[in-house]
């Protein structure tokens, strides 16, 4: 089954890409998922300051600055994994370094 991991965090003191790339915890997690052969893809997202939201209402396009939700924790990245079942996906999610600072939402992909 395919799952998307939504990597969520309060972005006020987000590490840089260089810091993440050098962080042993991040490297160990990526190495672990690759060794299992479970990772289908993923991406880090730029901060919500760079987000723009589009809605169409009554045929009118409404474009607004920022993310769709008003919350403290935002989705800062996604990983797509292919696992035997939810327990394996939860195990991989629990190993993600952001599970310790923010949270990781595990969502099955509609297949």
């Amino acid at each position: 089954m395919k799952y998307v991991l939504l990597i969520c965090d309060d972005e006020t003191d987000a590490p840089t890409n260089e810091e993440i790339a050098a962080d042993p915890a991040h490297r160990a997690w990526a190495a672990d998922v690759d060794r299992r052969g479970r990772r289908l893809g993923g991406a880090r997202l730029r901060p919500v300051a760079d987000a723009t939201t589009v809605r169409v209402r009554d045929g009118e396009i409404l474009v607004s600055d920022g993310p769709f939700a008003e919350t403290k924790d935002f989705v800062g990245g996604v990983d797509i994994i292919d696992c035997a079942d939810l327990d394996e996906a939860l195990e991989i999610a629990a190993g993600h370094p952001y599970a310790r600072r923010g949270c990781v939402e595990v969502r099955p992909v509609w297949e």
Partner: protein
């Protein structure tokens, strides 16, 4: 020919004992929760129709499982998507009886752990465990938890849906996940038992179900101490239940007629606790059972081993910290070391605000103040407890105490 009464009794007994096994086996084979329940239901209907003619089979569970599986095969045959599952059923078809009998224990355990998976919301875990393992219907479960039937039905549908769509595995978790998962399972079983412990209509059967499921867990996980601890706790509490109220009024422990406690259950509870303790891995349920055993084995209220109970509560507060545990410890200390020591702890708890709105806090304070001869303060605390007591039996008891002051 077998007498209708004998058949009815045999089907009822089989429903009580085998329902969970039949459903678990069918879920294991088909992965379809609703299909499994429907076919299990059909197999019990078939038993009612067939057993009067053919006699009650030697192993009703195997008979019911075989009928349910054949029924599932017929249903899947008409369903294109069922083709793969059908092959699995056909492969397993020959020599079925032996196969089924051996698979059953593991299947049931898998079912318990799947129903109690932490990815399901807690109320759904409880409802699903009851529905799939005991065969209580949605209306009965809803009544027991004072919920609308439609709400309970929706909860069950969503839970089954999530198991399939989110890919919750149908298995007992690996050893390293077991402590966390087992504690969720134990919490569900204890909640089921406790829901029945309040002597309200329609709920009493739940204590029996809780004990029944705890027995299943003990049999299936003999080397784990906490299921035994929980079973011991349930047995020791159940032993005192018949004597817990009289004429709709709560009877406090010290005033209960100990000759009416169930000696056989107490003996079994103590023996079960000893087996758990012999495994030498203490846990919160074993400690609570040890406390219940101190009460259940004291020949009279005055000879209760309060210092031992206070020490056990201190241990429980370390293993599973909770303000309710602190409150109970305060009572034990009042009895072991004197009322002022206990009252000081209760007052500190009240000040912390951690038990605001919990009626046993003022009720406990009232009782200690009464024992200390501080009647005016006790009356005030009884009034406060009366305002938030949840059941009539408790309100009647508190009102009686208030009048006596």
């Amino acid at each position: 020919m077998t007498a209708p009464d004998a058949v009815r009794a045999a089907v009822e007994a089989a429903y009580r004992d085998e329902w969970g096994q039949v459903v678990a086996t069918l879920i294991g084979l088909t992965g379809e929760w609703d299909l499994a329940e429907d076919c299990a239901q059909d197999s019990f209907a078939a038993a009612l129709a067939t057993w009067p003619r053919e006699g009650i089979p030697g192993r009703p569970g195997a008979w019911l499982t075989t009928v349910a599986r054949n029924r599932a095969r017929d249903r899947l045959r008409h369903d294109k998507a069922g083709a793969a599952k059908l092959r699995q059923l056909v492969v397993l078809a020959p020599g079925t009886e032996e196969l089924v009998a051996e698979e059953i224990p593991d299947e049931r355990l898998r079912l318990i752990f799947t129903c109690c998976h932490p990815a399901l919301p807690f109320p759904a875990r409880v409802a699903l465990t009851l529905r799939t393992l005991t065969g209580l219907n949605t209306a009965e479960i809803a009544r027991a938890f004072l919920t609308a039937e439609s709400t309970m039905a929706q909860r069950l549908v969503r839970a089954k849906h999530k198991i399939v769509e989110a890919g919750i595995p149908y298995r007992v978790p690996r050893a390293e996940l077991l402590p966390q998962r087992l504690s969720a399972v134990l919490a569900v079983l204890y909640l089921i038992f406790n829901e029945g412990y309040d002597e309200q209509d329609g709920r009493r059967a739940l204590t029996a179900e809780g004990i029944h499921l705890a027995r299943v867990l003990v049999r299936l996980m003999p080397s784990e101490p906490e299921p035994r601890g929980l079973l011991a706790l349930m047995l020791l509490l159940e032993a005192r239940r018949a004597n817990r109220t009289a004429g709709g009024v709560l009877i406090p422990l010290e005033d209960q007629d100990r000759s009416r406690w169930d000696g056989a259950l107490i003996a079994e509870g103590v023996a079960t606790l000893d087996e758990a303790l012999a495994l030498r891995r203490a846990g919160p349920y074993q400690v609570q059972a040890a406390i219940a055993a101190c009460h259940a084995t004291a020949p009279d209220a005055a000879s209760t081993d309060w210092p031992q109970i206070a020490a056990l509560y201190a241990e429980l507060a370390r293993a599973a910290p909770s303000p309710v545990v602190d409150l109970n410890r305060a009572v034990a200390i009042a009895m072991a070391e004197g009322i002022p020591a206990g009252l000081a702890l209760v007052d500190a708890l009240a000040e912390s605000g951690r038990l605001r709105g919990y009626y046993l806090l003022p009720a406990t304070r009232a009782d200690l103040l009464r024992r200390a001869g501080r009647s005016a303060e006790a009356a005030q605390a009884y009034e406060e407890a009366l305002a938030s007591a949840p059941t009539d039996a408790e309100r009647r008891y508190l009102a009686g105490r208030l009048r006596e002051l």
